[in-house]
């Protein structure tokens, strides 16, 4: 494995805290969206926002914290995106299937599993 090119050091004026604050804000908005919406697709949008917030945080740490293998954080983020895509496909298929049966995707009307 080749070492990262040391002559291309970027003098970025970014701070880790700023990126972390962005990730925290995005996560809180996604959480509010996922908890408050009645539409199942809206809830899914919230989950996507939360996953993106996690990825922003992960990549910020992978870029700013010294590690012996600096690429592992990026590889991990690739896996997060993969799982997010799989989750979106299954969840939207579920929403479509539920709509076919119940004519609604409002999650407060879908209480078949309630005891």
């Amino acid at each position: 494995m080749r070492a990262p090119m040391p002559d291309l050091l970027l003098t970025l004026a970014l701070h880790l805290e700023e990126v972390l604050v962005l990730g925290a804000g995005l996560f809180a908005l996604g959480l509010y969206l996922a908890l408050s919406k009645r539409n199942a697709v809206g809830v899914l949008m919230g989950v996507e926002l939360m996953l993106n917030a996690v990825n922003v945080t992960l990549l910020a740490f992978s870029r700013f914290v010294v590690s012996p293998r600096p690429l592992d954080g990026q590889v991990f983020a690739v896996f997060v995106i993969t799982v997010a895509a799989a989750e979106a496909a299954v969840a939207l298929a579920l929403a479509v299937a539920v709509y076919k049966h119940r004519e609604t995707v409002n999650i407060d009307e879908l209480d078949m599993l309630r005891w």
Partner: protein, 164 residues
């Protein structure tokens, strides 16, 4: 200069996410979600993780938002009259604000490393090297997960005649 761009793109990201929360039409919410996620791709470029920025544009700008729009179309939820938020809305707001407060307090209290300057441009070949050598087995498992999810999505969404 970088910082100006960072604040601009952050404003786009947060404004898009706020728009998803506030807007009444679900289709507009999906379009604002695209805006927010593309802003995240811009943040990746500022962090000089170009590969992830490309993946973000392809996966979220292309695949996921098309999926979301198709699901909205098939479930016909564009009606503006019905209530968009459930009764749990105040609780959700409390939970989100409490979480945000905890995060911000933690970020402010921690002494983060300064001037590490590890921001090197990593060539794509190194990422491919890491993915296919060191992380080859997890990579294959991830592809298996994707395959299972795709087949599962088809099976769930498919419905035989007379099943209702």
């Amino acid at each position: 200069m970088t910082q100006v761009f960072f604040y601009l793109i952050s404003a786009v990201v947060i404004a898009g996410a706020l728009g998803v929360v506030l807007v009444r039409n679900v289709v507009y919410a999906a379009l604002l979600l695209i805006m927010s996620l593309m802003g995240v791709a811009g943040i990746y470029i500022l962090l000089s993780v170009e590969f992830l920025a490309l993946v973000q544009v392809l996966v979220y700008g292309g695949a996921v938002t098309v999926l979301v729009l198709f699901a909205l179309m098939l479930t016909r939820t564009g009606e503006l009259k019905e209530k968009l938020d459930g009764e749990q809305k105040p609780l959700a707001a409390v939970a989100a604000i409490a979480l945000l407060g905890t995060f911000l307090a933690m970020i402010m209290q921690t002494a983060w490393p300064r001037d590490v300057n590890q921001l090197t441009v990593v060539p794509f070949t190194d990422i491919g090297d890491a993915l296919f050598n060191r992380w080859a087995v997890p990579f294959e498992i991830a592809s298996g997960v994707l395959l299972v999810a795709l087949i599962g999505a088809v099976v769930i969404a498919m419905q035989e005649e007379g099943e209702r």
